[in-house]
């Protein structure tokens, strides 16, 4: 119980910190970026919206910093995120809701597959210490993890889409296809998802391999694994049911964090492929100085990650009694 209240307390503190950072960054920046944005949009959007923006970013308002801060907290808690300038007059929440399914589909699935494949490979390579997998995988993926992952995207565009012409270069679906729920449209979406998914898979898998391998090496040396061997259990059963399960536990938090990051999309990969997900949207918001959209996206991403970590902590505590006694 004490554990639970501590974790909930931490979740709230972290959320509050994120909100506060979000509030103060534009106000601490030199040259008042919000004012510059306002000047650019004046005349393009209606006065009521301008006024709302002025309140939100503290421009020309006689509100004190403290009361502006509390008004902002109140607005955010009630889900009032403001209006997107890039897609005026749509509210920020509508714009995000449009991008969300793309990121969830693409990044969600490739994150889960990356985790499963990487963990399995890591476990096997630790199990056969000094074997072929154990000698080849770690150095290969150390080098792969040092590549900027957006660059792997560029490379795969150049090779698979441009040189070989197998797959489309950009976008979430072809512009010539009408977005309806038909078989050919689904195929078209899958066609566009292959290269970005491949990029995410290649760059995420190495981390899982290395951490799982390192955990597994420690676990395999434990007495209960030796005991299982002495009992004459099948090696495969020891590998997955005894050692693997326990080696997996420390990785749960990491996996949950990356599931939280699914919401944010794979920012740079989506950018390279012009994939219409949340990450691409965040960069578009930054480039067109759509500050309300930018702030809302940052909050959404932070909340997703925090909640994912919270769930992982609870799950770890339920699965592993050792972590409960602090």
């Amino acid at each position: 119980m004490r554990f639970l209240t501590r974790r909930i307390g931490f979740l709230l503190v972290a959320l509050w910190a994120a909100l506060t950072v979000n509030f103060f960054i534009p106000r601490l920046m030199p040259g008042n970026p919000a004012e510059a944005m306002m000047a650019r949009f004046k005349g393009h959007i209606n006065p009521a919206a301008i006024h709302a923006l002025e309140v939100a970013f503290g421009v020309n308002s006689h509100q004190s910093l403290v009361s502006a801060y509390f008004a902002y907290l109140n607005d955010t808690i009630h889900g009032n995120l403001g209006i997107s300038l890039l897609n005026f007059p749509l509210p920020v929440s509508t714009v995000i809701a449009r991008a969300l399914p793309w990121s969830l589909g693409l990044v969600g699935l490739s994150t889960i597959f990356g985790f499963i494949i990487g963990t399995a490979l890591g476990a096997i390579s630790a199990w056969r210490r000094g074997g072929l997998l154990d000698n080849v995988l770690p150095p290969v993926f150390i080098v792969v993890s040092a590549f900027p992952y957006f660059w792997i995207g560029l490379l795969s565009i150049w090779f698979f889409a441009l040189t070989l012409g197998w797959l489309p270069i950009l976008g979430g679906y072809s512009e010539t296809v009408t977005p309806t729920l038909t078989f050919s449209f689904v195929l078209d979406i899958l066609d566009h998802a292959v290269l970005p998914a491949f990029t995410i898979l290649i760059t995420s898998i190495g981390g899982w391999i290395l951490t799982m391998r390192n955990n597994m090496i420690t676990v395999v040396a434990e007495d209960y694994v030796r005991m299982a061997r002495a009992k004459g259990l099948k090696p495969r059963r020891i590998l997955w049911q005894y050692a693997g399960r326990n080696a997996l536990l420390p990785n749960l938090t990491g996996f949950a964090m990356s599931l939280g990051f699914v919401i944010s999309g794979a920012i740079l990969v989506e950018y390279v492929f012009n994939y219409p997900g949340v990450g691409f949207l965040l960069l578009q918001a930054v480039q067109s100085e759509d500050f309300p959209l930018m702030q809302a996206l940052f909050l959404l991403i932070t909340m997703a990650v925090l909640i994912a970590i919270f769930v992982a902590d609870i799950a770890t505590a339920l699965l592993d009694p050792r972590t409960r006694t602090n």
């Binding site: 960054i25 030199p30 900027p148 490379l155 441009l162 390192n214 920012i267």
Partner: protein, 298 residues
Amino acid sequence: MRVLERIGRTLLRVSKFLRRDKKAMAGAIILFVLLVITAFPSWFTPHDPSAEIYTPGTGVSWNHLLGTTSFGQDVFSQVMAGTRQSVLIALIVGFLCTILSVIIGITAAYTGGWVDDTLSLLTDVVLVIPTFPLIIVIVGYVKSAGFWLMVFVLVFTGWSYGARQLRVQALSLRNRDYLLAAKARGESSWYVIFVELIPPMTSLIVANFLGTSLYAVLAASGLQFVGLGNINEQSWGTMLYWAQNNEALQTGLPLWALAPGVAIAVLGSGLALLNYAFDEVANPALRPVRATKIKAVS
């Protein structure tokens, strides 16, 4: 004299470590070459990297080893000239983050009580707030992050992981007998921290430096790639930005976009290989097992 002797012994140990570990050796050679290029860029740039005076969009030739850009710049010279910024970002951000991590992590562990609670909470909060989106938001308000703003943002977001690791290790050392003995002798806190507590943590601190440097290189080049860096600075990230904006891949100039990426990866691999080797020093269980097996058989 004693100091010289100590330095000599450390150098000896480092060279022994490098000779024994192939991964560490490869990493060290890569970093050494890049440091030389950083120190003397003019030795390695056959052409002026920013001059737009050559035939645009030519392929590989003796005069232009990696071809030219669509502006008529020499790609090879640009890659060489861009080395300096990435290496400096890696070293400076890695160094500053490590200093911060050591100060915060060790203060928390050594002092305990409410200081530990506060610092740990701060560390954990910074740790869980998504780093890359936060960096994008901060830089987004400024539009173009020059070198020092980039360094500041990366340090601000990058110290927490190391602080947490160092705190955990310092906590596990805190109640060892030799530390208690030093305290019982009446040594000052400074002596205990610098002479007794920090030296056993060296490999973790070095691993932490290398890890943070790698993070800095990748994050900085990502930001520059999407145009959030200073697009007029000479760096691998901005090269990628210009290549992408001029559709280098689609217009038959793939080397313009691929070469800076390989350069980033070379620097990154150097750091990652050394880091991995230091991990094996810090955690003996991870060391390769083949050698011991052969001994057991014979």
